[in-house]
Symmetry: C2
Subunit: 480 residues, 2 copies
Amino acid sequence: MNFASVLFLLGKLIQIEGALFIAPAVVSLFYGEKQGLVYFIAAISCAVLGWLITLHRVKEQNYYAKEGFIAVALGWIVMSVAGCLPFVFTGEIPSFTDAFFETVSGFTTTGSSILSDVEKLSHCSLFWRSFTHWIGGMGVFVFMLAVLPMTGAQNMHLLRSESPGPDVGKLVPKLKDSAKILYIIYFGMTVLEIVLLLITGMPLFDSITLSFGTAGTGGFGIRNSSIADYSYIQQLIFSIFMILFGINFNFYFFILIRHSIKEALNIEEVRVYLGLIAVSTAAIMYNARHMFESLSDGFIKSLFQVGSIITTTGFSTADFNEWPALSKTILVCLMFVGACAGSTGGGFKISRVIIMIKSYLRELMHFIHPRLLKNVYMDGRKVKDETVNGVEVYLLSYVLVLIVSVIVISLDGFDLETNFTAVMATLNNIGPGLAVVGPTGNYSGFSILSKYVLSFDMLAGRLELYPMLLLFAPGTWRKK
Amino acid sequence: MNFASVLFLLGKLIQIEGALFIAPAVVSLFYGEKQGLVYFIAAISCAVLGWLITLHRVKEQNYYAKEGFIAVALGWIVMSVAGCLPFVFTGEIPSFTDAFFETVSGFTTTGSSILSDVEKLSHCSLFWRSFTHWIGGMGVFVFMLAVLPMTGAQNMHLLRSESPGPDVGKLVPKLKDSAKILYIIYFGMTVLEIVLLLITGMPLFDSITLSFGTAGTGGFGIRNSSIADYSYIQQLIFSIFMILFGINFNFYFFILIRHSIKEALNIEEVRVYLGLIAVSTAAIMYNARHMFESLSDGFIKSLFQVGSIITTTGFSTADFNEWPALSKTILVCLMFVGACAGSTGGGFKISRVIIMIKSYLRELMHFIHPRLLKNVYMDGRKVKDETVNGVEVYLLSYVLVLIVSVIVISLDGFDLETNFTAVMATLNNIGPGLAVVGPTGNYSGFSILSKYVLSFDMLAGRLELYPMLLLFAPGTWRKK
């Protein structure tokens, strides 16, 4: 374990966070809020601390698999610890555990909240809370690779640990350029959403913060009613943008950079993703039809909720906890499935589900025709055996984390539906679950232990399990 | 697909079932019940029908993988159809769907019931209902291999399709002898339980039927209160025998035939199984302590329920639906884990869980030490890569069947806890779930569609998924 290079990276990260704190500080100036002072102090403290840590230059800046995983895991924890302190010092979320939970929920784009009344927060804190979604959505290490002068082919491991999906590829030969392209698309789409919302007459503050929540597929709102009080046209814009941000960014790369719509539409994952959204929306529209006022009301509410859950955003316009069993079951299944790999969404990822089902059908065929090769094809290419095996191991890890988490949080004595969906909602970075943690509830009732377990789950879900799990492997901490 | 040899096997099977019908017919003579006539007619009809089918001798009696799977899947369905007809014709369960569900539940040793009042049944029907557990427990094809003059090394595929576990081995070189040894141990232990129960003063009818339910890890009782009204000492005997029947039968083979207790105790699966029972019992005793009258009451109720659920028997002495969240969560986890491979119990099987966790830890270590071999060891021997891969694919199949089943039965509109645990309880051959299908409830409220889906799950669980899934693969039905 190369501790020096991991520490150096953490120092850089703290400096970046210092820079990010300037945004809510500026917001406070507009609204004349005294809480802004805390954000200014936080910005300066982080800058100084980061500078001190990075004073000692390391010669070797390469990160191999292990260092990559650990740097990313520790990086996200450090970011969350630093990021939650303003909530504590402004007194808006006085408990450290709660503030940490809320910030982890922000950076991991989960959107689970311990707050029962978000409207009490100052504008600068609301802004910071939503901003964490935007930062976490595309990944802070990806950002670092895009802007900082870092070299070394092994930095791939950093990108790999932070980017979701079974098999992360580079868009273009140079890693740095890939990271830049990702951020340009991300930034551009966010700006487009803000502009569209402004055109519908939404206030600037709402447009920016809620676009952050959409872009990162986070789900923190700025009203207690989440998105329910906004107009149909605004809800429709949110629905469309949630779905757009849940698409594999390769799709936009093909369209915008390579100008090849054909290549874009050939991505199997995107087609399955859009098909799943269409089928689920139709099924819920029909199954829960007695809950809706009209056909268009049913369409917008169903599309919004399906989009919100499959992309793991977690916004809500209706209390889907009251919807009939089939609709709830569909939503719980979509929680698990999640969005496309290479998007800002969480969950198990569509491409993993596709590989899983294909490899599974292949195994079944193998019983009938024992001489058949067990190859799995996606987008017309053979999926590497290593990738197929990786998906199976990922499912194993996922089930184990799920089971252990449910057991621990069930100590608090809530019902099974609450416990199961609370873990599902955090591990898949969604936000609300069902029952106690449904769209009208929140996570404040859990014990301190459970809040840390759920924070772990959020981080494990966002970083695709292994970085967080490796923190607990004894071999990780052995010095070379 | 060699249809002729599959049909021949089904004919033999129907003849065997005819012979089995004689038992409840004899019981009816003791109690002077007119329902016995139906069982006599059933016995004769099956004998004649089976004889007609097997008139045409097939030359080639070998069963390759595909024929083995399909013969077993169809065999179990045919057995259940024939086995449910007496319930229909005696008028005790007039609906065919319900009678089929109940009989599948019997043969698959699930113990889920659609009856709200079992005490209304005649003695001969109660006997038949429990007898199906005993027949299904060790497997009817295993029985066939033990008693019928069948040769051919490929008959291994029949045994493999019916015996639970990730990797079925032969105890002794000759398959026929292995099957015989299994049945002798099974028969001996059942007799021992009956004798012990008789000594405690239990009536003969109760002793026999409930021992059938224990031996097959089935769970059908003969009273509406399941086992709750029996004495502590009798409950303790049930607990111990449930746990004994959930142990890998290799354990008894080592002790009884090879006289090597050391070898027996070296079986890792057995040690993990007993450890899991001890830990779970202690945890529930503590967590649900306010539900128990005394320490010994708590011990017996906890041990009984843990033993009943982990072995997938499904007897109950307490309404565990009322127990606190942690206890219920532990029980749901044990539902999934199940008993040892090579036992009469169902579920995912302890050995699969062990292989899963070990292979998983190995993968995790691989991140840290990329040159490490990914070997998994059990009982001191390397587990074949094929077996490890098989476990991962099995989990995949399991999750897919689980999800699809939950979606379909949620059409009935019950709550998520009911739907989820109903599928868990049938797919793992347990019996009762939670909420509506909890120990005081039953499955009668489900629609016809759901009852067939759950019947499919019971068969899929008992036959370890593939035989039942292959029925739906188009390639299966193609003639060579």
